[in-house]
Amino acid sequence: MPQKFAFFLGCVAPLRYPGIELATREIFKSMGVELTELEGAGCCPAPGVIRSFDQTTWLALAARNLALAEAQKTDIMTICNGCYGSMFEANHILQHHPKELKKVNDVLGKIGMKYDGTIKVRHFAEVLYKDIGMEKIKAQVKTPLNYTVGVHYGCHFVKPTRVKQLDDPEKPKILDELVEVTGAKSINYRDKMMCCGAGGGVRSRDAATALRMTEEKLKNLKAVNVQMIVDVCPFCHLQYDRSQKDLPGYNIPVVHLSQLYGMAFGLPREKLGLEAHETKFNL
């Protein structure tokens, strides 16, 4: 397996939930996988707004990030479904449509860059599952976690399966297994694969509609009494974390998988950045 990845931070993790950034750095270090800095990387760019506005800008900005990693001859690793979805799909288009690649390289040429389509875009949960593996993760668990958890896959981790081919879109198992290796129990719930409501630019344009979708998810999570929600996307994370203050009766802590692993691997709590969470983590 590759021993290093170019660490793509995105926007929401470093600028809203720095605990996700720090926990990821620490857990990968403890498993012996090097994360190199992707100096000067920009937004993935956001599929909801930028791709919706102009696909050429979306492709060109994604290609700039891909070219930064290609210069290091290193695959990119993301900690966010949005970044993963955006850059994975942009990479797929650039690798399969020479006309699009040329168009993008004409733009990148203006800043002295070029993308040749030689790297892969990876999601950290996929790296954990496929490259590092359960045995090695289990060996790091110092404090088995005795929690009941509602896993939120989000939309852009396994979908669209036509290009990603990671897991089943209706009944995936990767994240449940990754959660349960810590000792926690993943509880099934109604409409588990439903969207959190935030994506596609809906949260920014129509917060009330996004909130109604989130409420539907939270209602189903509450019905099975989970102690926390575990996500693999800082944007879903933000949607769950910040929506609950507007929804009386909900107070379910939200953690990113990297933070859950931080707890299980015995990282000090202050390295998990839980104070940035609006729904307080009190377990």
Partner: protein, 173 residues
């Protein structure tokens, strides 16, 4: 008297030719699996099947200004379940791009675009967050375009070369 929209075959052709994926538009046989699967459509007036039908017919004037075009969260559930493998999300992005070119874009989305041109990120970055990063032992600025002038100039240049800054100056609502 009710106004009847005129089908515009040129518009349909433009959608089909616009981008990877949108060439599947005419494969749709209107079964409605997409509408039945849509988490947004459960709660709103957004009807995926209807939008696809309007695109097939080229009802440009009905599609461009509609709020419903912006209610999709791009969750891909409809794409996964479509028996004809219509790349519905790809078609939606093409339609949104066209609507934006016509000037239909939300102020909230423009703000995100402006933030991208300013710091290369979707969300603003303030003093409180910088303090928290430092307290946790992280660098004040992440090693991204934020706080990196050369990287930010490059990032902005890419956006300008693609005409994104000008695109945002258009606008109807």
């Amino acid at each position: 008297m009710a106004k009847i929209s005129e089908p515009n075959p040129d518009f349909t052709k433009m959608v089909i030719e616009a981008g990877p994926g949108s060439d599947t538009l005419m494969l749709c046989y209107q079964c409605g699996t997409c509408t039945a699967s849509c988490p947004s459509g459960r709660l709103t007036a957004f009807r995926t099947r209807q939008l696809i039908r309007k695109a097939q017919l080229g009802l440009k004037e009905e599609i461009m200004p509609t709020e419903e075009l912006w209610l999709c969260t791009t969750c891909y559930t409809c794409v996964e379940r479509c028996p004809r493998e219509v790349q519905i999300t790809d078609i939606l992005f093409v339609l949104r791009n066209m609507a934006v070119k016509e000037g239909y874009m939300a102020e909230a989305h423009k703000k995100i675009g402006e933030n991208m041109l300013r710091i290369g990120a979707t969300v603003p970055f303030g003093e409180e967050m910088k303090k928290l990063r430092v307290k946790m032992g992280l660098p004040e600025n992440p090693p991204t375009t934020v706080g990196n002038k050369k990287a930010m100039d490059d990032f902005r240049k890419v956006m300008e070369e693609c005409g994104f800054d000008k695109l945002m100056k258009g606008g109807k609502s």
